[in-house]
Symmetry: C2
Subunit: 395 residues, 2 copies
């Protein structure tokens, strides 16, 4: 994690506080190896073990209160003007510091609509509000601040996201050099993990179901584990979905497909090619709508309708998600106005946002076609961060 | 993750519910790649993306409600009798299912005293209780159930923990074969990551500060990042702390030390050896107290006092923690009765618990000595899971 970016994000948050009625944004966390708070990725760059408080005030104060052994790591970020330490318990120091700052409204890391701003556990919420019950303050959600510092990528961040995207493309290039034919989904996944490690990356969120490997029509689509009994066979589609994180802490998320030629074939059958083209028509229809100011669902709707107009069923997920410090980043989603997406499809797009664009379709008897590329939103539209897979690979 | 262990843990939870007044234990989670619920490691074995509910009833029902694309992974565990799926939103299905079960008291994953049972985010608590407000039920903490299924290791689990412990010892053996002299903390950590990957493991909780590498007296003790400017030098102590997870999802956590001989030296200086021996006396004093029925703090107190009686300052952390599916596992801690440990030191030890035993001391001018071993609690005392490092290594 770059300390420079941590400092940028902390200062960006202070700036965003000015536009709200929140006096203090308080991130309260413990044992983040068990229950991480996604906001810490941005305003600290690493986790904490003991009870820790990160206090950013509208008046510009940047204060951390952490266990003694964790203070050096916090000081080394250079993001906090004051790093207070304790040995026995955090409550007294936290009360004293907040009493000195005198906030009326404290923003906390909880959100009804998305996990990225929902890092405060319910137990910690109860503990925190009990510690501070004498203070007579209102607690509100800090979600707008957390989302904006995630979604508004700095130039430094865009460079890092572009780099991991290129790295993931190199990982895919090596995966496509594997023998593949006759290999099982599990074997391919295992080999991919070595390639990923060679490139200094890791599967984001654990390696069990990442990358997804779908060999042919009998494979389980979605976030499924690879199957040891399904092997790559002629006349089938091989589909990968992989989301990687690099040592700088940034993520890429791309899908790639190949068709496994039968004896005598020199290209994929019509059925496969027509589905592939329809998916690309739909993805481009969505991308054409993606620009600052539109509501997130509008892009999804354009892609969804285009795919249906081509004669394929609508996909049962969102067209895309923010990506950056997390694979699923930010607060809006390029998704339909379905209950499970809450208010996220209604948010507006801003320049500097980075999104995946993804959709797919099942080709009966052949397998799953899935496209997924990455773009950055510019002032007038989008620019590719990935090198789009315009043609299905042939094996 | 072994589906057999997932099924064991789900059934163990049903059994534990009988001894409580909780009718239903409900785990409610979404986007666990961002905000994981540690309980899912046990009762599912992997994460979820969409809103998901795992319902275990005292009457024996085992029901999961998950997004359509995630159903196969849940069914494949064999742990749930019923796997319901949705496309648009979870609320209706969840309300219907709970109405059918008719619980008066629902246990949720929040805890004031420890993260392992505190996986429910505050935002999800608010969403869940809003979805269920018509139901007229009481919500209580499920922490006792969550802790017991973590702490009471099955024979299968003990075998897996023993295996990763041996693996970590092999990783350390290879690290001690590195040139080491003149290498920086950062170089050693980077090399260790390749060795760890070769052994099919990963640093638990991320690789940035794991393993900890402390070269000599100027190194930052605790959960510090390695320093690129500190190199291994004659006349200094080299200290490692590493916590690994293997592909089966179980963890080991051990510290190891070496003394770097000066020209002409054949053993560590008196000051170092005396401190080493004192640490071992203290660790054994703590271990002697560790058996079923004692309160967790009693073991810490014995070790702490023994170290002080040897003339060394008390260590500013706990003597040990549960370890298993997580490096910091379970609900009790072998720690002092300090505010920051809450009620955890007061819990009682049970047979089948697995603990680390760890303590250390700074040797002025030489560096940090830290011991950390792993034991399983037997009916009458403990058995080693690690091969104790009885003598400081010499480089």
């Amino acid at each position: 994690m770059s300390n420079a970016i941590t400092r940028q994000k902390v200062n960006q948050a202070i700036g965003l506080l000015q536009a709200t009625d929140i006096d203090v944004w308080l991130t309260f966390a413990r044992e983040t190896s068990q229950t991480p708070d996604p906001a810490l990725d941005l305003i600290l760059g690493h986790g904490v073990t003991w009870d820790s408080a990160f206090i950013l005030a509208r008046t510009g104060e940047k204060i951390a209160i952490v266990g003694r052994y964790e203070a050096d790591n916090v000081r080394n970020t250079g993001a906090y003007d004051e790093v207070q330490t304790y040995d026995l318990g955090i409550a007294d120091l936290l009360r004293q510091t907040l009493t000195r700052l005198g906030p009326k409204k404290i923003g906390l890391n909880y959100s009804l609509s998305g996990s990225e701003a929902d890092g405060l556990t319910h137990g910690n919420f109860l503990r925190l509000t009990a510690m501070l019950h004498e203070l007579n303050v209102d607690f509100v959600s800090a979600e707008d601040i957390i989302r904006r510092i995630r979604e508004q990528k700095s130039a430094d961040e865009l460079a890092l996201i572009a780099a991991i995207t290129k790295t993931q493309e190199r990982v895919y290039a090596e995966m496509f050099k594997l023998p593949l034919r006759g290999m099982s989904e599990v074997e391919i996944q295992t080999r991919s993990h070595a390639i990923i490690a060679d490139h200094g990356c890791e599967p984001d969120g654990g390696a069990n179901a990442n990358p997804i490997v779908n060999a042919g029509p009998d494979s389980s689509i979605g976030h499924g584990m690879p199957n040891p009994n399904l092997t790559v066979q002629s006349g089938q589609i091989l589909h990968f979905d992989m989301w990687l994180r690099d040592k700088q802490g940034y993520c890429a998320d791309l899908q790639r497909c190949a068709y496994v030629l039968r004896a005598g074939e020199t290209e994929a059958p019509d059925l496969v090619r027509r589905a592939w083209d329809a998916c690309w028509i739909a993805l481009e229809a969505g991308r054409a709508v993606l620009k600052p100011g539109v509501q997130a669902f509008e892009t999804d709707l354009a892609a969804r309708e285009a795919l249906q107009e081509c004669g394929y069923p609508e996909y049962m997920h969102a067209l895309g998600h923010h990506i950056g410090r997390k694979t699923h980043d930010g607060g809006s989603v390029l998704g339909p106005r379905w209950e499970r997406y809450g208010d996220r499809p209604f948010k507006r797009i801003e320049a500097g946002n980075v999104f995946t664009l993804e959709l797919g379709t099942i080709v009966e008897g052949y397998g799953y076609i899935g496209l997924e590329e990455m773009v950055v939103v510019t002032d007038n539209g989008t620019a590719w961060l990935s090198t789009p897979q315009r043609h299905i690979a042939l094996i």
